[in-house]
């Protein structure tokens, strides 16, 4: 039996390798410089590139090293993961509609809980930011491409295998492979995750998840190195540090955070894997559990800022466009972004206030945690001041930006309380924490992502989305977010603990409300996906490179100029549909003309 399996694996690998080689040799036909044939490479890379175009069809997407294509791939991948993670949590919320187990078993609930967290943070959050950054940073700073285009492609292609490995348990169980998905929560606290005893929390599912996470960390680090190199070396000569745009600043800071945080996660994951598979005892001896928590949160807290900083950058970039003026206090935002970047490495133990660590140590982390609230608050005031007396145009991206600011205030203020030790000791591990960070990750991070997607949708697709659907998406998302997560904050005040599939009957009402909110969110996201897909395939073409009428307010930016030139050169084909724009008219929100879809 074992021999047969070995033979089967050998055959599988052999076939795979031969298929790869065969495919490569086929590909060589359109490649002028072939590795083994020592072809024509004398003219240097650049001239070669001009001679040949990208291959057609699916091969183009598999082989592309163009930052725009990779950005689109990242975006599609991120949205797919968002859908998966969203459906997971929909199942969990349905289960939580009633106090007892009715819909899914607690073990399934735990698996979904784990995968929802990891999917949203690593497979949706980080990639969707990389999508924006890949597409836009080179355009905005005037670079031809990323500094290392091939590493860029590798970083993306590591993600699909990592997703498969993270979700592997869900496929393995029905296939009868003898292991299920991990049930460790995304924090993977030892000793539960270290596989003590008969490893009830997922078995090989955990191993695969650790490997998948490790891979996604490698991918993120490669991307970060690429962005740092690009922003430092590839800027247009007019782009000095003083007028580097805010989005690139946040990407630069985020990349710095990734560079310091993700390798540490990778090492910790490998140590945990060694504990599980090779009999080491990093996290199994005295103090091992604390060691894991320290290592994990030294990565885990910067991860929060890795996700939120670029999204703040998007809001700081998009919001002024529809306020008809420049961002108020641009340099305040830049300096506070950098401050957050540094301070985020000095706050990790505020996730561990309840662990019984030395109170003096705890106090120092409280100090830094309270200090880091200031730069975030500064940005909030900058956004509000930018809106003040501005000529606001409530287009869909603008609505999401304003929603971002609103949700970010609630999420941020609830967070400041958690930074205080006495309050945290009461609220630790309750739904208050869940409500707080979901206000940030859903209410702020995802909202800014939506704002970016709607704002740059015409840039990428040269079509306009359907404005009514976009506004419906915003309304449902905003209402759903606030219903769901405010109920969670109240549940936390009531003392309901996190992470359980069942709860006491006294929490029923608020949980039911939260489930209703989650369903509203779900409907909103279905509309979003529908809108994206149909608009991409058949939306109205835009006719100029300024679909948002930014020139009128003097807030036009370079990526739209790039689009303008692209449209001019491609004017011969298409363009027969009548153009329209969501923000095209001043009185968009009255919305008579753009709402006819």
């Amino acid at each position: 039996m074992a021999i047969n399996a070995q033979i089967a694996l050998t055959v599988f690998m052999g076939v795979l390798l031969i298929a790869v080689i065969a495919w490569l040799t086929r590909i060589e036909d359109w490649r002028s410089y072939s590795a083994s044939a020592g072809g024509v490479v004398s003219q240097g890379e650049r001239s070669e590139y001009i001679e040949q175009e990208k291959p057609a069809g699916i091969v183009r997407w598999l082989t592309t090293v163009d930052h725009k294509d990779i950005g689109i791939l990242y975006g599609a991948y991120g949205l797919f993961a968002f859908a998966v993670g969203g459906l997971m949590v929909a199942a969990m919320r349905i289960e939580l509609a009633t106090p007892n187990t009715t819909f899914i078993e607690p073990a399934v609930y735990n698996s979904l809980l784990t995968s929802h967290g990891i999917t949203m943070l690593f497979l949706f959050g980080t990639p969707i930011i990389a999508a924006f950054a890949n597409y836009l940073v080179p355009l905005i700073i005037g670079a031809d491409d990323m500094a290392f285009p091939r590493i860029n492609a590798i970083a993306f292609w590591l993600l699909p295998p990592s997703a498969i490995m993270i979700w592997a348990g869900f496929f393995a169980q029905p296939l009868g492979l003898g292991f299920g998905p991990a049930q460790t929560a995304w924090t993977m606290y030892t000793p539960l995750s270290a596989g003590v005893g008969n490893d009830p929390a997922g078995g090989a599912g955990i191993d695969l998840m650790l490997l998948g996470l490790h891979l996604s960390g490698v991918a993120a680090t490669m991307g970060a190195i690429n962005f740092i190199a690009t922003i430092f070396t590839q800027r247009d000569e007019n782009v000095s540090w003083a007028n580097l745009d805010i989005f690139s600043w946040t990407i630069l800071t985020q990349s710095g955070l990734i560079l310091f945080a993700f390798p540490l996660l990778g090492s910790a994951l490998l140590m945990l894997l060694a504990d599980r598979k090779f009999g080491t005892t990093f996290f199994l001896t005295d103090g091992g559990n604390m060691l894991w928590q320290h290592l994990f949160w030294f990565f885990g807290h910067p991860e929060v800022y890795i996700l939120v900083l670029p999204m703040m950058g998007i809001v700081s970039y998009v919001l002024p466009r529809f306020a008809g003026r420049q961002l108020f206090g641009f340099k305040f935002v830049v300096y506070s972004t950098l401050a957050i970047g540094v301070l985020s490495f000095g706050v990790w133990a505020h996730h561990m206030f309840a662990t019984g660590m030395d109170p003096r140590l705890r106090a120092s982390f409280m100090a830094v945690s309270l200090a880091i609230a200031i730069p975030s608050a500064v940005k909030t005031f900058n956004w509000i001041t930018t809106l003040w007396n501005g000529r606001l145009r409530l287009t869909t991206p603008m609505l999401f930006c304003i929603g971002f600011v609103s949700n970010f205030i609630i999420g941020g203020v609830t967070g400041v309380f958690l930074a205080s030790i006495p309050v945290d000791l009461v609220l630790h591990d309750t739904y208050y924490v869940v409500g707080h960070f979901h206000y940030i990750v859903m209410g702020a991070i995802a909202f800014a992502g939506f704002a970016g997607i709607y704002y740059w949708f015409p840039l990428v697709t040269r079509r306009m989305y359907q404005a009514t659907l976009g506004k419906a998406h915003f309304a449902l998302s905003f209402i759903g977010t606030n219903i769901t997560f405010f109920a969670m904050i109240l549940l936390g005040y009531g003392g309901m603990p996190r992470r359980y599939a069942t709860y006491l009957p006294q929490f029923f009402t608020l949980n039911a409300i939260a489930t209703v909110g989650a369903m509203i969110l779900l409907v909103g996201q279905i509309i979003f996906v529908w809108n994206l897909v149909t608009s991409w395939l058949g939306g109205k073409r835009i006719e100029s490179g300024d679909p948002w009428n930014l020139k009128e307010d003097g807030v036009h930016t370079v990526e739209w100029q790039w689009l303008d030139r692209r449209i001019e050169t491609a004017l011969t084909d298409g363009g027969d549909e009548e153009p329209i724009a969501d923000g095209g008219e001043v009185r968009t929100d009255g919305g008579t003309e753009s709402d006819d879809d």
């Binding site: 905005i140 005037g142 070396t233 800027r235 247009d236 000569e237 007019n238 782009v239 000095s240 540090w241 003083a242 007028n243 580097l244 745009d245 805010i246 970039y317 008809g324 003026r325 420049q326 961002l327 641009f330 340099k331 305040f332 830049v334 300096y335 506070s336 950098l338 401050a339 970047g341 540094v342 301070l343 490495f345 000095g346 030395d358 109170p359 003096r360 140590l361 106090a363 120092s364 982390f365 409280m366 100090a367 830094v368 309270l370 200090a371 880091i372 200031i374 730069p375 500064v378 000529r391 020139k551 009128e552 307010d553 003097g554 807030v555 036009h556 930016t557 370079v558 990526e559 100029q561």
Partner: protein, 170 residues
Amino acid sequence: MESKIFDKETLLDLTVNFIPLGIILTFIAVFAVVSPWGFDIRASGIMYAVMIIMFTALGVLTYLSGKAIAGDEKTKPVYSQGQAFLDDSEPIEHEEADHDVDQNDHAVDETDDDETGAGADNEETDAESDEEVTANNDEEATADNDEEVTADNDEEATVDNDDESSKSDN
């Protein structure tokens, strides 16, 4: 050079980071005075280390970024974000510089906010603002700017910028 870069304006921009620095410093002082758990070299050492390292790191980064940003600001034309190599974009003047002009403050603010203006008197306001900014620059030129970075001598500024950027990129 240093004092030139870190003038009043730059320091004002940096206040945003002085506040968290101040908070950390306050906590260091408070913990030094009030220590309900006593002093233990291991625990208290780490406690102070966390805060002092963060304080130092933030201080250093604030200094470096301030130097990079304010330095570029004073030697190269400054554009609004995302407009650096836009076809018809012109360098903006430093916002705060305008507030020193005592006369007609309101008009300056307006043109500052939206460069092309929003109304029909678009061109008029633009012309006005150019004049004013130039005048303003003349007054201040001796104080902090060796070369005038005005809309008039665009060419000079760009040439200057070429040299600088090629240097700093390497």
